[in-house]
Symmetry: C2
C-alpha cells in the first residue's frame, strides 16, 4: 500500500485538542485499522486493526477458560417470536433489528432477526440442555458478530455490525448468578487494566441504563482523552427473567423443579476505540505492548550501499534472538528512515529499534519509546532481556499516564449549578452524592447530555452522608456522571 | 447434563453398516457436538464440537500466517448489486441467498444479502486498497459465518449457516495467482493429513464442478466410511474475472495499469463431519489427538471409599505432570467406571487412563487406546514421556487405517458397464480414463448419482494412454468419480 501511504502523510494529522473526533477518524483510517464498508453503517476491519482484536481474543479467552467457561456457537438468525417472549428485552432491541424476510427464493413465514444479542436463543437451548442441578452451572461463551441498526455510526464505536463475545451462564441460585456476574466483571477489569492499560471505574448501572431484561447490570467505564466516558464491558445478572420466559428449569436435589438464575456479559470491538482514545497522542496511535500487532519495529539507517551488508547481518541476528519473544516488524521498504519513523509512530508501535553503521560497529542499537520518545542505546546481546523489560515498562507507563489523566479530569460537584458549570466548561467525570432517582437522572441527561455512567463499587467508608446534589433527598450512594460515547 | 446423559445410553448406537446416516446423526447428538437450532437448517455447535473447531482454527491459522497471510473482517451484508456484477457468480449463488429487506424499522432501498461468500465485497475493497505493484501480493483471510439457504440439511455437512475461513489474495500475474492457489491447497492438504489424520486426493475440479466465477478450482477429496466422497477444502484461481468485474487494477513498474489476478480458498465446519465419518466406529467418535478437546481422560476406579484418598493423590500428581503437555479430562462424576468408559469412547477421547487401588500400589496406571483398545501398564513417572508418544502413535495409526480403507475401496473401471456395476454393488471411489467431456459427466451423474470428484495431480508417469471409459474418445487424464456429500 506504498502509493496510498505516500498520499496519506501529505495531509497532516489534525490536533487532538482542535477536533478530537476528526483526529480519531483520521487515526483509524491512516493507521489502516478499519474502513467504512459499502453497506451503510458497517465496517471493514483491516488486518492491522484485526490483529489487535486477535490479541484481545487470545488474552481474554484464556481468562474466561480459567473460570471454567467453554466456547460454543449459536445461530445468527433468531425467530421473531423468540425476541418477543421477554417483554423488556424486545422493547429494548426491536427498533434496531435487521430482518431477513426472504431466503432460497421464497418469502419466509416468520421474519428472522439477525441477532442483536443471543439471550433468547440461548434461553431456548438451555431449557433443553438443563435437566438437573448436576448440569449446573452451565458456562458458555460465544465469539460472534451481531447487528444493531444504528443511525449515526463511528468506526469501532458504533456500527451496525460489530464483533464481540457474549457469555451466558445458568445457575442454581440467585446468589450464584450474582457471584458469576461480579466474577466476570472482575475478569474484564483485570483484562482491561492489565492488558489494555486502561484504568476503569467498576460498579453498577442505574435502573435507566441497565440491560433490557436484566435484574442488574454492572459495567466498566473508562475516560477517553476528550473527557468522555466509554462503557468498556458489561455484566448482567438476569435473575429469573429469561428463565421464566424460556422455561429454564432444573430438578433440584430436594426433588423440586426450580427456575435457573442466568447471567450474560460482553465485550466488543468497541474496546479498540477505547484503546485509540485513551492512549493516542498528536502523532497518532499508541498501542499497549500486550495487544500491539508489532511490539517493536526495526528501522535500518544506511547512508551508503556499503553499509547495508553489516546492518542486514545484525538485523538477522536480532530477528533470530527475539523470535517467539517479541513481535517484531522489520521495515525494509524503500521509504526514508524519517518516513518510517512517522509511519510507525502513527501506527502506534510501542518501541522503535534504530540501527545504523555506527551502531553496528558498537554492536548496539538505539531503542526509542513511542509513549515518551525516550532513547537508549542497548548492546545487541542485551536486547533479549532489555526489550521485553522495556515493553513491560511502557505497558505500565501507559496505564499510569491514563490513570493520572482520569484523576486530573474527575471532579466532585456539591450542587447542580456546580455540576452544570463543570459539564459546560471542563471535560471529564463528575462524582456526586445521589439518591437514585430515575426521573432526576433523565432530567439531568436532558439538560446537560451527561448520563449516569456508574455507581462505583468504591464508595466512602461507612456509607454516604448528606444529600443528593440534584434532588436534595438523602443520598444513598455516590454516582459518576459524564458525557459518553 | 447427567440426567440427559443417563437417558441417552438406554438406546444403543445403531450399527454403522446398518444405517450410516442414522449412525452419523446419533453420534453428533449423543457426543454433544451439535444440535439443530429452532431456525430451519441452522445449527448450534455445542462446546465439545466447538472445541474441535477451535483446535482446527488454531492449527490452520498458524499455517496460513507462515505463508504471509493476515486476518481481517468484512461485513456480513452485501448489496444485491455487488452479487450481480460477476455473472457466473450470481448465477451460482443467487438461488441460495437469504435477504435482509428491513432494518431499524424501515424497508431498505436495496435488499442486502447475507454473505454466501465474500468475493464481491473483497473485490470492492481490493480495488480501493491496491494502487501499485508494491501493494502486491495482498494476502487476506477471514474467519466468519456464511449462509446458503439449503433445502435438505445435515448437521455440519449441510446447514443454512456455517462457520469457515475464506482466504482472498491479489497478485501481479496469473502465474503468481496460480502458484498461490496451489500453495493454499498444499497448506490444506498437509493440515488435513497431518492434523486431522484424513488422507486426501488432491487435484483439479472439472469445469462442471468448479466454483461459480473461477478460472480453475482445486480440491481435496476424502473418503468417508460409507465409501462416499467429501470435499474437504477448495482453492480457486479466479484469474482476472473478479478483477475485471470490480476494477482491481494496479500501476505496474512499467507505468502500465493492469488487472490483478485473484484467488480464494476455504475450509468450513463441514470438516468436522469428515472427522466423524472417516474415523468413527461402532462405539462412536474417534478423535485425532491433534484436535481432540481432551486427549486423555482419567477414570478413577475405587471399590471402597478407603481407596479414594490414595487414588486422588495420584491423579493430582498426574495432572500436575501433564499440565501444558496433554489436554486432560478427569472424570470425577458419580457414574460407574463402565458408564464412563462408554461415554468417553462415544465422545472419541483418544486415550483412557484407568487408575485403581492396585495401580496406585504399583505406582502405575493402565492406558487404553480408543482406536484399537490396546492396553498397557505404564509407571506414573513415565507418563510424561509415554503418553505424548502414544498420542502420536494413535494419530499415525488413524491416518494409516483411513488410508488402507480408502485404498481397499478404490476401484479402476475400464468400461461404463464396469463402472455402473461398481457404483451399484460396492461403495467407494472409481478411477477411470477420461476425455474431459462435460456432457458425458452430466449423463453419468444423471444415471449413477456419481460425480467427478477430482482429476488428481497424481497421474500415470508419461501421461495417460488409451480411451475414455465412457465416450471412447482419446483420454486426456485419469479422473476419480464417487457419490458424495
Ligand atoms: Zn474497586
Ligand atoms: Zn500428490
Amino acid at each position: 500500500m506504498a502509493e496510498g501511504a505516500k498520499e496519506k502523510y501529505v495531509e497532516e494529522l489534525v490536533d487532538q485538542s482542535d477536533d478530537f473526533s476528526r483526529w480519531y477518524n483520521q487515526v483509524v483510517r491512516k493507521a489502516e485499522l478499519a474502513d467504512y464498508a459499502p453497506v451503510r453503517g458497517c465496517m471493514i476491519i483491516r488486518p492491522y486493526g484485526y490483529a489487535i482484536w486477535e490479541h484481545i481474543q487470545r488474552l481474554l479467552d484464556a481468562r474466561f477458560k480459567e473460570t471454567g467457561v467453554m466456547n460454543a456457537y449459536f445461530p445468527l438468525l433468531i425467530p421473531r417470536s423468540f425476541l418477543e417472549r421477554e417483554a423488556k428485552h424486545v422493547e429494548g432491541f426491536a427498533p434496531e433489528v435487521a430482518w431477513v424476510t426472504r431466503g432460497g427464493g421464497e418469502e419466509l413465514e416468520e421474519p428472522l432477526a439477525i441477532r442483536p444479542t443471543s439471550e433468547t436463543i440461548i434461553g431456548y437451548s438451555f431449557a433443553r440442555w438443563i435437566q438437573s442441578y448436576r448440569d449446573l452451572p452451565l458456562l458458555i461463551n460465544l465469539w460472534n458478530n451481531v447487528m444493531r441498526w444504528e443511525k449515526r455510526t463511528v468506526l469501532f464505536l458504533r456500527t451496525a455490525e460489530f464483533l464481540w463475545q457474549e457469555g451466558h451462564t445458568a445457575h442454581r441460585t440467585l446468589e450464584e448468578a450474582e457471584e458469576r456476574t461480579r466474577l466476570m466483571l472482575e475478569v474484564y477489569r483485570s483484562f482491561v487494566q492489565e492488558d489494555l492499560a486502561i484504568p476503569v471505574l467498576h460498579g453498577r448501572k442505574s435502573e435507566n441504563e441497565k440491560f433490557a431484561g436484566a435484574l442488574r447490570t454492572y459495567s466498566l467505564e473508562a475516560m477517553m482523552r476528550d473527557g468522555k466516558a466509554l462503557q468498556s464491558a458489561t455484566s448482567h445478572n438476569l435473575g429469573h427473567n429469561f428463565a421464566q420466559s424460556f422455561d429454564i428449569q432444573y430438578l433440584d436435589a430436594d426433588g423440586q423443579r426450580k427456575y435457573c438464575a442466568t447471567t450474560s456479559w460482553g465485550l466488543s470491538t468497541r474496546i479498540i476505540g477505547a484503546i485509540i482514545m485513551v492512549h493516542g497522542d498528536e502523532s497518532g496511535l499508541i498501542l499497549p505492548p500486550h495487544v500491539a500487532p508489532y511490539q517493536a519495529v526495526v528501522v535500518p539507517i544506511w547512508r551508503k550501499d556499503a553499509d547495508q551488508g553489516a546492518i542486514m547481518e545484525a538485523i538477522g541476528r536480532i530477528e533470530r534472538m527475539l523470535k517467539g519473544k517479541v513481535r517484531l516488524k522489520v521495515d525494509l521498504s524503500d521509504n526514508t528512515p524519517g518516513w518510517k519513523f512517522n509511519e510507525w509512530e502513527l501506527r502506534g508501535v510501542p518501541v522503535r529499534i534504530e540501527i545504523g553503521p555506527r551502531d553496528v560497529q558498537n554492536n548496539s542499537v538505539v531503542l526509542v519509546r513511542r509513549d515518551n520518545r525516550a532513547k537508549e542505546a542497548v548492546a545487541i546481546d542485551a536486547l533479549e532481556t532489555r526489550l521485553p523489560e522495556l515493553l513491560a515498562e511502557v505497558q505500565q507507563a501507559l496505564f499510569q499516564r491514563a490513570l493520572a489523566f482520569r484523576e486530573e479530569h474527575t471532579y466532585y460537584a456539591e450542587t447542580y449549578d456546580e455540576f452544570k458549570e463543570i459539564m459546560s466548561e471542563k471535560r471529564g467525570f463528575v462524582r456526586v452524592k445521589w439518591a437514585e432517582d430515575s426521573e432526576a437522572e433523565l432530567a439531568i441527561k436532558e439538560e446537560t447530555k451527561a448520563t449516569l455512567r456508574v455507581i462505583p463499587f468504591d464508595q466512602p467508608e461507612g456509607g454516604v452522608q448528606g444529600r443528593c446534589f440534584y434532588t436534595g433527598k438523602p443520598a444513598t450512594c455516590e454516582a459518576v456522571f459524564a458525557r459518553s460515547y
